[in-house]
Protein backbone atom coordinates (compact mmCIF):
# COMPACT_ATOMS: atom_id res chain seq x y z
CA UNK A 1 0.00 0.00 0.00
CA UNK A 2 2.84 2.40 0.82
CA UNK A 3 4.61 1.90 -2.46
CA UNK A 4 1.47 1.99 -4.54
CA UNK A 5 -0.30 5.09 -3.30
CA UNK A 6 1.31 7.77 -1.10
CA UNK A 7 -1.96 9.68 -0.78
CA UNK A 8 -3.75 6.61 0.46
CA UNK A 9 -0.87 5.90 2.79
CA UNK A 10 -1.13 9.36 4.32
CA UNK A 11 -4.89 9.02 4.71
CA UNK A 12 -4.45 5.66 6.41
CA UNK A 13 -1.97 7.08 8.88
CA UNK A 14 -4.25 9.96 9.80
CA UNK A 15 -7.33 7.77 10.05
CA UNK A 16 -5.48 5.35 12.30
CA UNK A 17 -4.68 8.13 14.74
CA UNK A 18 -8.24 9.41 14.46
CA UNK A 19 -9.68 5.98 15.28
CA UNK A 20 -7.71 5.48 18.47
CA UNK A 21 -8.12 9.10 19.56
CA UNK A 22 -11.87 8.87 19.04
CA UNK A 23 -11.99 5.77 21.22
CA UNK A 24 -10.06 7.63 23.90
CA UNK A 25 -12.26 10.70 23.67
CA UNK A 26 -15.44 8.66 24.03
CA UNK A 27 -14.00 6.99 27.11
CA UNK A 28 -12.97 10.40 28.44
CA UNK A 29 -16.47 11.78 27.91
CA UNK A 30 -18.02 8.77 29.62
CA UNK A 31 -15.80 9.27 32.65
CA UNK A 32 -16.63 12.98 32.76
CA UNK A 33 -20.36 12.21 32.62
CA UNK A 34 -20.59 9.44 35.18
CA UNK A 35 -17.65 9.41 37.60
CA UNK A 36 -18.08 10.76 41.14
CA UNK A 37 -16.25 14.02 41.58
CA UNK A 38 -14.47 16.00 44.27
CA UNK A 39 -13.70 19.68 43.84
CA UNK A 40 -10.18 20.78 44.73
CA UNK A 41 -10.47 22.96 47.82
CA UNK A 42 -6.90 23.17 49.08
CA UNK A 43 -5.74 25.94 46.77
CA UNK A 44 -5.61 29.69 47.16
CA UNK A 45 -6.70 31.01 43.75
CA UNK A 46 -10.09 32.09 45.12
CA UNK A 47 -12.08 29.97 42.69
CA UNK A 48 -14.31 26.95 43.17
CA UNK A 49 -12.77 24.49 42.50
CA UNK A 50 -9.30 25.76 43.36
CA UNK A 51 -6.02 24.76 41.76
CA UNK A 52 -4.83 21.24 42.57
CA UNK A 53 -2.80 20.81 45.75
CA UNK A 54 -1.19 18.03 47.75
CA UNK A 55 -4.13 18.26 50.15
CA UNK A 56 -6.55 17.37 47.33
CA UNK A 57 -4.39 14.48 46.18
CA UNK A 58 -4.52 13.19 49.74
CA UNK A 59 -8.32 13.43 49.77
CA UNK A 60 -8.61 11.37 46.59
CA UNK A 61 -6.11 8.75 47.69
CA UNK A 62 -7.79 8.45 51.08
CA UNK A 63 -11.14 7.88 49.39
CA UNK A 64 -9.84 5.33 46.89
CA UNK A 65 -7.94 3.42 49.57
CA UNK A 66 -11.01 3.53 51.78
CA UNK A 67 -13.06 2.04 48.95
CA UNK A 68 -10.58 -0.84 48.59
CA UNK A 69 -9.40 0.19 45.14
CA UNK A 70 -6.18 -1.57 44.12
CA UNK A 71 -3.30 0.51 42.84
CA UNK A 72 -2.29 -0.01 39.21
CA UNK A 73 1.43 0.68 39.29
CA UNK A 74 4.02 -0.82 41.61
CA UNK A 75 6.36 1.29 43.67
CA UNK A 76 9.81 2.16 42.30
CA UNK A 77 12.52 1.40 44.82
CA UNK A 78 14.92 4.12 45.85
CA UNK A 79 18.45 3.97 44.54
CA UNK A 80 21.67 5.68 45.46
CA UNK A 81 21.36 8.43 42.83
CA UNK A 82 21.47 12.18 43.42
CA UNK A 83 18.16 14.02 43.09
CA UNK A 84 15.95 10.95 42.96
CA UNK A 85 13.27 9.69 45.28
CA UNK A 86 11.40 6.41 45.52
CA UNK A 87 7.82 6.45 44.27
CA UNK A 88 4.87 4.80 45.93
CA UNK A 89 2.62 2.24 44.34
CA UNK A 90 0.04 4.36 42.60
CA UNK A 91 -3.34 4.93 41.06
CA UNK A 92 -3.51 6.45 37.59
CA UNK A 93 -4.49 10.13 37.32
CA UNK A 94 -5.42 11.15 33.76
CA UNK A 95 -5.00 14.91 33.33
CA UNK A 96 -4.94 17.67 30.72
CA UNK A 97 -1.56 19.04 29.63
CA UNK A 98 -2.67 22.51 30.77
CA UNK A 99 -2.26 21.28 34.35
CA UNK A 100 1.47 20.55 34.10
CA UNK A 101 2.52 23.89 35.60
CA UNK A 102 0.19 23.39 38.55
CA UNK A 103 1.44 19.84 39.01
CA UNK A 104 5.04 21.03 39.05
CA UNK A 105 4.12 23.62 41.68
CA UNK A 106 2.45 21.09 43.95
CA UNK A 107 4.20 20.34 47.26
CA UNK A 108 6.08 17.00 47.23
CA UNK A 109 5.51 16.53 43.49
CA UNK A 110 8.17 14.30 41.94
CA UNK A 111 8.68 14.60 38.20
CA UNK A 112 9.45 11.44 36.28
CA UNK A 113 13.01 12.67 35.70
CA UNK A 114 13.48 12.29 39.45
CA UNK A 115 12.39 8.67 39.53
CA UNK A 116 15.15 6.27 40.52
CA UNK A 117 14.42 4.41 37.30
CA UNK A 118 12.90 6.87 34.79
CA UNK A 119 12.61 4.12 32.21
CA UNK A 120 9.80 2.71 34.32
CA UNK A 121 7.74 5.83 33.67
CA UNK A 122 5.12 5.76 30.93
CA UNK A 123 5.65 8.00 27.90
CA UNK A 124 2.73 10.27 28.78
CA UNK A 125 3.64 10.37 32.46
CA UNK A 126 4.42 13.74 34.07
CA UNK A 127 5.25 12.68 37.61
CA UNK A 128 3.84 11.54 40.91
CA UNK A 129 2.39 12.93 44.11
CA UNK A 130 1.27 10.77 47.01
CA UNK A 131 -0.17 7.62 45.53
CA UNK A 132 -1.13 9.19 42.20
CA UNK A 133 0.94 9.05 39.03
CA UNK A 134 -0.17 11.68 36.55
CA UNK A 135 -0.51 10.92 32.84
CA UNK A 136 -1.16 13.98 30.68
CA UNK A 137 -2.77 14.47 27.28
CA UNK A 138 -3.58 17.50 25.16
CA UNK A 139 -7.09 16.10 24.73
CA UNK A 140 -7.61 15.63 28.46
CA UNK A 141 -10.99 16.48 29.87
CA UNK A 142 -11.94 20.10 30.54
CA UNK A 143 -15.14 22.15 30.66
CA UNK A 144 -15.29 25.84 29.74
CA UNK A 145 -16.73 28.40 32.17
CA UNK A 146 -17.65 25.84 34.81
CA UNK A 147 -15.95 27.43 37.81
CA UNK A 148 -17.22 30.00 40.30
CA UNK A 149 -15.31 32.73 38.45
CA UNK A 150 -16.14 31.40 35.01
CA UNK A 151 -12.83 29.74 34.27
CA UNK A 152 -12.18 26.37 32.67
CA UNK A 153 -12.49 23.39 35.00
CA UNK A 154 -10.11 20.49 34.42
CA UNK A 155 -11.13 16.94 35.20
CA UNK A 156 -8.43 14.59 36.54
CA UNK A 157 -9.68 11.01 36.53
CA UNK A 158 -8.05 9.16 39.42
CA UNK A 159 -8.64 5.44 39.21
CA UNK A 160 -7.76 2.10 40.68
CA UNK A 161 -7.30 -1.17 38.87
CA UNK A 162 -10.26 -2.27 36.71
CA UNK A 163 -12.30 0.81 37.61
CA UNK A 164 -13.60 1.01 34.05
CA UNK A 165 -13.59 -1.11 30.93
CA UNK A 166 -14.21 -0.82 27.21
CA UNK A 167 -16.68 -3.53 26.26
CA UNK A 168 -16.35 -4.75 22.70
CA UNK A 169 -19.61 -5.27 20.86
CA UNK A 170 -20.32 -7.71 18.04
CA UNK A 171 -17.13 -9.63 18.64
CA UNK A 172 -14.65 -7.00 17.50
CA UNK A 173 -13.15 -3.78 18.81
CA UNK A 174 -12.38 -1.90 15.62
CA UNK A 175 -12.14 -2.47 11.89
CA UNK A 176 -10.04 -0.50 9.46
CA UNK A 177 -11.62 -0.80 6.02
CA UNK A 178 -10.07 -0.30 2.58
CA UNK A 179 -11.97 -0.87 -0.66
CA UNK A 180 -9.83 -0.44 -3.79
CA UNK A 181 -11.34 1.43 -6.75
CA UNK A 182 -12.33 -1.67 -8.66
CA UNK A 183 -14.67 -2.64 -5.83
CA UNK A 184 -15.87 0.89 -5.09
CA UNK A 185 -17.49 2.11 -8.29
CA UNK A 186 -18.37 1.04 -11.81
CA UNK A 187 -15.64 3.22 -13.32
CA UNK A 188 -13.01 2.32 -10.71
CA UNK A 189 -12.25 5.99 -10.11
CA UNK A 190 -12.36 6.25 -6.33
CA UNK A 191 -11.42 4.07 -3.41
CA UNK A 192 -12.91 4.07 0.09
CA UNK A 193 -10.98 3.99 3.31
CA UNK A 194 -12.33 4.37 6.79
CA UNK A 195 -12.83 2.79 10.16
CA UNK A 196 -15.62 1.67 12.41
CA UNK A 197 -15.69 0.40 15.93
CA UNK A 198 -18.29 -0.84 18.34
CA UNK A 199 -17.21 -0.33 21.91
CA UNK A 200 -18.97 0.72 25.08
CA UNK A 201 -16.78 2.39 27.71
CA UNK A 202 -18.24 1.71 31.13
CA UNK A 203 -17.32 2.26 34.76
CA UNK A 204 -17.25 -1.17 36.36
CA UNK A 205 -17.06 0.00 39.97
CA UNK A 206 -17.95 3.61 40.68
CA UNK A 207 -16.15 3.49 44.04
CA UNK A 208 -12.80 2.95 42.38
CA UNK A 209 -12.70 6.11 40.28
CA UNK A 210 -12.93 9.77 41.27
CA UNK A 211 -12.89 12.86 39.10
CA UNK A 212 -10.74 15.48 40.84
CA UNK A 213 -11.88 18.84 39.44
CA UNK A 214 -9.56 21.84 39.51
CA UNK A 215 -8.84 25.21 37.92
CA UNK A 216 -5.52 26.80 37.07
CA UNK A 217 -3.65 28.98 39.55
Amino acid sequence: MQAQDPVLNEAVKRLGVSMRQTEDELTRDMLAATASFINCTGGVNGDNPTEITRFDVGEVVRTLVGNDANTILDNIEGENKFGTAPTRDAYFALAHTDLTTNLDAMATFVSKAEYPAPMKALRSEWGTSGNLRFLVSSVGSSVASESDLGDTVYNVFCMGMEAYACVEQDGYSASFIYRPPIFDGPLALNCSVGYKFAEVPRITNDLWIINLRSTLS
Binding site: L26, D29, M30, A32, A33, T34, A35, S36, F37, I38, N39, C40, T41, G43, D47, N48, P49, T50, V143, A144, S145, E146, S147, D148, L149, G150, V153, V200, P201, R202, I203, D206
Partner: protein, 336 residues
Amino acid sequence: MANNTIIQQGHFTSDGTDALINLRSDIDWIEVVNRTNVEASTQWAGTTWRWERGMGDDDAFTDFHAAASQAISTSTCSTGYNGAVYRGITLIDTSDKTPGAAVAITAGTNATQPLYSTADTGNLIEGSIVRIYGTDQRDVNGFDFTVDTVTLDTSFRLANTLATAPGVVAGAAGYWRFIAASAAIYDMMYPAKRVIANITQAAAGVVTTLVDHNYVTGQKVRINIPSDSGMIELDGQLVTVTNIDAGTFSIDVATTTYTAFTYPVYTVYPFTPATVIPVGTDISVTSSTYPAEKNAAYIGVMLGTSDDAAIALGSPGGTAADVIYWRAGKSFNVLT
Protein backbone atom coordinates in the same frame (compact mmCIF):
# COMPACT_ATOMS: atom_id res chain seq x y z
CA MET B 1 -34.04 20.46 -4.61
CA ALA B 2 -34.42 17.27 -6.57
CA ASN B 3 -36.48 14.64 -4.84
CA ASN B 4 -33.70 12.09 -5.13
CA THR B 5 -31.58 14.03 -2.67
CA ILE B 6 -34.08 13.75 0.16
CA ILE B 7 -32.57 11.68 2.94
CA GLN B 8 -35.30 11.86 5.54
CA GLN B 9 -38.71 13.33 6.21
CA GLY B 10 -41.38 13.24 8.88
CA HIS B 11 -43.99 15.10 10.84
CA PHE B 12 -44.79 15.80 14.47
CA THR B 13 -47.08 17.77 16.72
CA SER B 14 -45.37 20.72 18.40
CA ASP B 15 -45.28 20.83 22.19
CA GLY B 16 -44.40 24.52 22.15
CA THR B 17 -40.69 23.98 22.74
CA ASP B 18 -37.74 23.90 20.36
CA ALA B 19 -38.18 20.81 18.18
CA LEU B 20 -35.12 18.57 17.93
CA ILE B 21 -34.92 16.27 14.92
CA ASN B 22 -32.39 13.45 14.95
CA LEU B 23 -31.11 12.93 11.37
CA ARG B 24 -29.34 9.92 9.91
CA SER B 25 -26.66 12.07 8.27
CA ASP B 26 -25.61 15.62 7.65
CA ILE B 27 -27.90 17.72 5.43
CA ASP B 28 -27.61 20.64 3.02
CA TRP B 29 -31.22 21.77 3.16
CA ILE B 30 -34.46 21.32 5.07
CA GLU B 31 -37.98 22.51 4.41
CA VAL B 32 -40.53 22.81 7.21
CA VAL B 33 -44.27 23.38 6.77
CA ASN B 34 -46.66 24.22 9.60
CA ARG B 35 -49.90 22.62 8.44
CA THR B 36 -51.93 24.24 11.21
CA ASN B 37 -50.80 27.72 10.18
CA VAL B 38 -51.27 27.00 6.48
CA GLU B 39 -54.89 26.07 7.04
CA ALA B 40 -55.73 28.76 9.60
CA SER B 41 -54.41 31.76 7.64
CA THR B 42 -53.90 33.76 10.81
CA GLN B 43 -52.21 37.10 10.21
CA TRP B 44 -48.42 37.00 10.81
CA ALA B 45 -48.41 33.22 11.07
CA GLY B 46 -45.46 31.53 9.39
CA THR B 47 -46.29 28.70 7.05
CA THR B 48 -43.03 27.47 5.50
CA TRP B 49 -39.35 27.68 6.39
CA ARG B 50 -36.40 26.70 4.20
CA TRP B 51 -32.85 26.46 5.48
CA GLU B 52 -30.02 26.06 2.97
CA ARG B 53 -26.33 25.24 3.44
CA GLY B 54 -24.53 28.57 3.86
CA MET B 55 -27.17 30.19 6.07
CA GLY B 56 -26.31 31.04 9.66
CA ASP B 57 -27.66 29.47 12.82
CA ASP B 58 -31.25 30.16 13.78
CA ASP B 59 -32.20 31.48 10.37
CA ALA B 60 -34.31 30.41 7.39
CA PHE B 61 -36.27 31.75 4.45
CA THR B 62 -39.86 32.00 5.58
CA ASP B 63 -43.31 32.35 4.04
CA PHE B 64 -46.04 33.92 6.14
CA HIS B 65 -49.54 35.31 6.03
CA ALA B 66 -49.13 39.08 5.92
CA ALA B 67 -52.91 39.42 6.30
CA ALA B 68 -55.69 37.19 7.58
CA SER B 69 -55.94 35.45 4.24
CA GLN B 70 -54.22 32.79 2.18
CA ALA B 71 -51.96 35.39 0.53
CA ILE B 72 -48.29 34.62 1.17
CA SER B 73 -45.41 37.00 1.74
CA THR B 74 -41.76 36.11 2.20
CA SER B 75 -38.85 37.13 4.40
CA THR B 76 -36.10 35.56 6.48
CA CYS B 77 -36.24 34.79 10.18
CA SER B 78 -33.26 37.02 10.91
CA THR B 79 -34.77 40.00 9.04
CA GLY B 80 -38.26 39.24 10.25
CA TYR B 81 -41.51 41.11 9.63
CA ASN B 82 -44.15 43.02 11.57
CA GLY B 83 -41.42 44.60 13.68
CA ALA B 84 -40.02 41.34 15.05
CA VAL B 85 -37.38 38.77 14.21
CA TYR B 86 -38.18 35.10 14.55
CA ARG B 87 -36.49 31.87 15.54
CA GLY B 88 -35.13 29.84 12.66
CA ILE B 89 -33.45 26.52 11.96
CA THR B 90 -30.08 25.45 13.36
CA LEU B 91 -27.88 22.46 12.59
CA ILE B 92 -26.98 20.75 15.85
CA ASP B 93 -24.32 18.30 16.96
CA THR B 94 -25.20 17.30 20.50
CA SER B 95 -21.64 16.15 21.20
CA ASP B 96 -20.50 19.77 20.89
CA LYS B 97 -20.54 21.20 24.41
CA THR B 98 -19.19 24.65 23.61
CA PRO B 99 -21.12 27.12 25.81
CA GLY B 100 -22.88 30.10 24.27
CA ALA B 101 -21.56 33.63 24.58
CA ALA B 102 -21.43 35.25 28.01
CA VAL B 103 -24.47 37.43 28.75
CA ALA B 104 -24.55 39.81 31.69
CA ILE B 105 -26.80 39.18 34.68
CA THR B 106 -27.94 42.48 36.15
CA ALA B 107 -29.69 41.14 39.25
CA GLY B 108 -30.80 37.91 40.89
CA THR B 109 -33.18 37.23 43.75
CA ASN B 110 -32.32 35.41 46.95
CA ALA B 111 -35.00 32.74 46.69
CA THR B 112 -35.21 28.96 46.38
CA GLN B 113 -36.07 29.57 42.74
CA PRO B 114 -33.91 32.62 42.00
CA LEU B 115 -35.08 34.97 39.25
CA TYR B 116 -32.23 36.46 37.19
CA SER B 117 -32.55 39.71 35.28
CA THR B 118 -30.79 40.07 31.94
CA ALA B 119 -31.22 42.39 29.00
CA ASP B 120 -30.85 39.51 26.55
CA THR B 121 -32.53 36.13 27.05
CA GLY B 122 -31.32 34.99 23.63
CA ASN B 123 -32.99 31.73 22.62
CA LEU B 124 -33.93 30.67 26.14
CA ILE B 125 -37.25 28.94 26.56
CA GLU B 126 -38.72 26.90 29.38
CA GLY B 127 -36.55 23.82 29.76
CA SER B 128 -33.37 25.40 28.43
CA ILE B 129 -30.16 24.90 30.38
CA VAL B 130 -27.85 27.73 31.40
CA ARG B 131 -24.55 28.00 33.27
CA ILE B 132 -24.24 30.84 35.79
CA TYR B 133 -20.96 32.27 37.07
CA GLY B 134 -19.35 35.35 38.54
CA THR B 135 -22.33 36.43 40.64
CA ASP B 136 -22.30 37.16 44.37
CA GLN B 137 -24.17 33.86 44.80
CA ARG B 138 -21.01 31.76 44.95
CA ASP B 139 -23.00 28.65 45.83
CA VAL B 140 -24.78 28.95 42.46
CA ASN B 141 -21.79 29.91 40.33
CA GLY B 142 -20.26 27.31 38.02
CA PHE B 143 -23.32 25.06 37.93
CA ASP B 144 -25.81 24.31 35.18
CA PHE B 145 -29.53 24.85 35.74
CA THR B 146 -32.77 24.13 33.93
CA VAL B 147 -34.77 27.35 33.62
CA ASP B 148 -38.45 28.20 33.38
CA THR B 149 -40.55 31.37 33.32
CA VAL B 150 -38.55 33.14 30.63
CA THR B 151 -39.65 36.73 30.02
CA LEU B 152 -38.21 37.85 26.71
CA ASP B 153 -35.11 40.02 27.19
CA THR B 154 -36.03 40.59 30.82
CA SER B 155 -35.47 37.58 33.07
CA PHE B 156 -35.44 33.82 33.59
CA ARG B 157 -35.99 31.67 36.67
CA LEU B 158 -34.35 28.47 37.90
CA ALA B 159 -36.89 25.70 37.33
CA ASN B 160 -35.92 23.25 40.06
CA THR B 161 -36.31 24.43 43.64
CA LEU B 162 -33.24 24.63 45.87
CA ALA B 163 -33.46 23.32 49.44
CA THR B 164 -32.40 26.72 50.72
CA ALA B 165 -32.03 30.10 49.04
CA PRO B 166 -28.48 31.06 47.98
CA GLY B 167 -28.28 33.43 50.96
CA VAL B 168 -27.57 36.64 49.08
CA VAL B 169 -28.79 38.44 45.98
CA ALA B 170 -26.77 37.90 42.82
CA GLY B 171 -25.57 41.46 42.28
CA ALA B 172 -24.75 42.87 38.86
CA ALA B 173 -21.35 41.34 38.17
CA GLY B 174 -22.28 37.89 36.90
CA TYR B 175 -22.96 36.15 33.61
CA TRP B 176 -24.97 33.31 32.14
CA ARG B 177 -24.16 31.14 29.14
CA PHE B 178 -26.51 29.06 27.01
CA ILE B 179 -25.64 25.36 27.37
CA ALA B 180 -28.46 23.36 25.76
CA ALA B 181 -31.97 23.83 24.45
CA SER B 182 -33.27 21.07 26.69
CA ALA B 183 -32.23 18.21 28.95
CA ALA B 184 -32.83 15.86 26.01
CA ILE B 185 -29.60 17.04 24.35
CA TYR B 186 -27.71 18.12 27.47
CA ASP B 187 -25.92 14.82 28.02
CA MET B 188 -23.62 13.25 25.49
CA MET B 189 -23.44 10.11 27.60
CA TYR B 190 -26.63 8.75 29.14
CA PRO B 191 -27.30 8.44 32.02
CA ALA B 192 -25.13 11.16 33.54
CA LYS B 193 -24.40 12.64 36.93
CA ARG B 194 -26.44 15.46 38.40
CA VAL B 195 -25.92 18.03 41.14
CA ILE B 196 -28.57 17.87 43.86
CA ALA B 197 -30.75 20.88 44.68
CA ASN B 198 -32.77 19.27 47.46
CA ILE B 199 -33.69 16.01 49.20
CA THR B 200 -36.84 15.85 51.29
CA GLN B 201 -37.26 14.09 54.61
CA ALA B 202 -39.92 11.50 53.77
CA ALA B 203 -40.75 7.79 53.79
CA ALA B 204 -39.37 7.77 50.26
CA GLY B 205 -37.01 10.73 49.98
CA VAL B 206 -37.56 12.98 46.96
CA VAL B 207 -34.44 14.23 45.19
CA THR B 208 -34.48 17.42 43.11
CA THR B 209 -31.65 18.04 40.64
CA LEU B 210 -30.38 21.35 39.28
CA VAL B 211 -30.74 20.11 35.69
CA ASP B 212 -33.65 17.85 34.72
CA HIS B 213 -32.35 14.34 35.32
CA ASN B 214 -33.71 12.11 32.49
CA TYR B 215 -33.60 9.09 34.81
CA VAL B 216 -36.21 6.35 34.57
CA THR B 217 -37.75 4.18 37.24
CA GLY B 218 -35.48 1.28 38.12
CA GLN B 219 -32.15 2.98 37.57
CA LYS B 220 -29.57 2.60 40.32
CA VAL B 221 -27.74 5.69 41.48
CA ARG B 222 -25.32 6.52 44.26
CA ILE B 223 -25.96 9.62 46.37
CA ASN B 224 -22.84 11.53 47.41
CA ILE B 225 -23.40 14.18 50.07
CA PRO B 226 -20.52 16.23 51.49
CA SER B 227 -20.88 17.48 55.03
CA ASP B 228 -21.71 21.03 53.87
CA SER B 229 -25.06 19.78 52.54
CA GLY B 230 -26.53 18.08 55.60
CA MET B 231 -28.32 14.70 55.36
CA ILE B 232 -24.95 13.02 55.79
CA GLU B 233 -26.70 9.75 56.66
CA LEU B 234 -27.53 9.29 52.97
CA ASP B 235 -23.95 9.81 51.78
CA GLY B 236 -22.65 6.92 49.73
CA GLN B 237 -25.91 4.96 49.65
CA LEU B 238 -26.86 3.05 46.52
CA VAL B 239 -30.55 3.69 45.82
CA THR B 240 -33.18 2.85 43.21
CA VAL B 241 -34.92 5.64 41.31
CA THR B 242 -38.65 6.09 40.92
CA ASN B 243 -39.22 8.83 38.39
CA ILE B 244 -41.66 11.56 39.46
CA ASP B 245 -41.14 14.31 36.92
CA ALA B 246 -38.42 16.01 34.91
CA GLY B 247 -36.68 17.58 37.88
CA THR B 248 -37.42 15.15 40.73
CA PHE B 249 -37.33 11.46 41.55
CA SER B 250 -37.94 9.48 44.70
CA ILE B 251 -35.60 6.91 46.22
CA ASP B 252 -36.21 3.68 48.11
CA VAL B 253 -34.80 5.07 51.34
CA ALA B 254 -36.74 6.55 54.26
CA THR B 255 -35.07 9.86 55.03
CA THR B 256 -37.62 10.98 57.61
CA THR B 257 -35.22 10.84 60.53
CA TYR B 258 -32.17 12.02 58.60
CA THR B 259 -30.58 15.42 59.03
CA ALA B 260 -32.27 18.04 56.84
CA PHE B 261 -30.64 18.62 53.44
CA THR B 262 -29.36 22.13 52.81
CA TYR B 263 -28.06 23.74 49.65
CA PRO B 264 -24.51 24.99 50.43
CA VAL B 265 -24.25 28.45 51.94
CA TYR B 266 -22.69 31.08 49.65
CA THR B 267 -20.05 31.92 52.25
CA VAL B 268 -18.71 28.35 52.33
CA TYR B 269 -16.44 27.99 49.32
CA PRO B 270 -14.68 26.27 47.76
CA PHE B 271 -16.89 23.26 48.21
CA THR B 272 -18.01 20.03 46.54
CA PRO B 273 -21.77 19.84 45.92
CA ALA B 274 -24.03 16.85 46.60
CA THR B 275 -24.37 14.66 43.52
CA VAL B 276 -26.26 11.77 41.99
CA ILE B 277 -24.03 9.25 40.22
CA PRO B 278 -25.71 6.72 37.90
CA VAL B 279 -24.22 3.26 38.35
CA GLY B 280 -26.62 0.82 36.69
CA THR B 281 -30.14 -0.50 36.48
CA ASP B 282 -32.25 -3.09 38.21
CA ILE B 283 -33.94 -5.93 36.31
CA SER B 284 -37.12 -3.89 35.76
CA VAL B 285 -35.32 -1.73 33.19
CA THR B 286 -35.43 -3.90 30.10
CA SER B 287 -35.81 -1.31 27.36
CA SER B 288 -32.80 -0.83 25.10
CA THR B 289 -33.67 2.86 25.20
CA TYR B 290 -32.29 3.02 28.72
CA PRO B 291 -29.15 0.90 28.86
CA ALA B 292 -26.59 1.12 31.60
CA GLU B 293 -24.58 3.53 29.46
CA LYS B 294 -24.82 4.82 25.92
CA ASN B 295 -23.46 7.52 23.68
CA ALA B 296 -26.57 9.63 23.14
CA ALA B 297 -25.00 12.22 20.85
CA TYR B 298 -26.46 12.83 17.41
CA ILE B 299 -26.50 15.28 14.56
CA GLY B 300 -29.72 16.91 13.46
CA VAL B 301 -31.59 20.18 13.39
CA MET B 302 -33.35 22.36 15.91
CA LEU B 303 -36.52 24.13 14.85
CA GLY B 304 -36.63 27.14 17.13
CA THR B 305 -39.65 28.63 18.84
CA SER B 306 -40.34 30.95 21.74
CA ASP B 307 -42.36 31.32 24.93
CA ASP B 308 -43.51 34.62 23.39
CA ALA B 309 -46.71 33.74 21.47
CA ALA B 310 -46.20 36.27 18.68
CA ILE B 311 -42.69 35.02 17.95
CA ALA B 312 -43.71 31.37 18.20
CA LEU B 313 -46.37 32.08 15.55
CA GLY B 314 -43.65 32.95 13.05
CA SER B 315 -41.06 30.36 14.11
CA PRO B 316 -40.57 26.85 12.67
CA GLY B 317 -40.92 25.13 16.06
CA GLY B 318 -44.49 26.47 16.21
CA THR B 319 -46.88 26.67 19.12
CA ALA B 320 -48.26 23.77 21.11
CA ALA B 321 -50.53 21.43 19.06
CA ASP B 322 -49.34 22.73 15.67
CA VAL B 323 -48.88 19.92 13.15
CA ILE B 324 -45.54 20.31 11.41
CA TYR B 325 -44.16 18.48 8.37
CA TRP B 326 -40.51 18.48 7.33
CA ARG B 327 -38.18 16.98 4.77
CA ALA B 328 -34.42 17.23 4.64
CA GLY B 329 -31.88 16.46 1.98
CA LYS B 330 -28.33 16.38 0.79
CA SER B 331 -26.94 17.89 -2.40
CA PHE B 332 -24.30 16.33 -4.57
CA ASN B 333 -22.35 19.56 -4.37
CA VAL B 334 -22.83 22.97 -2.74
CA LEU B 335 -21.22 25.64 -4.91
CA THR B 336 -20.19 28.95 -3.40
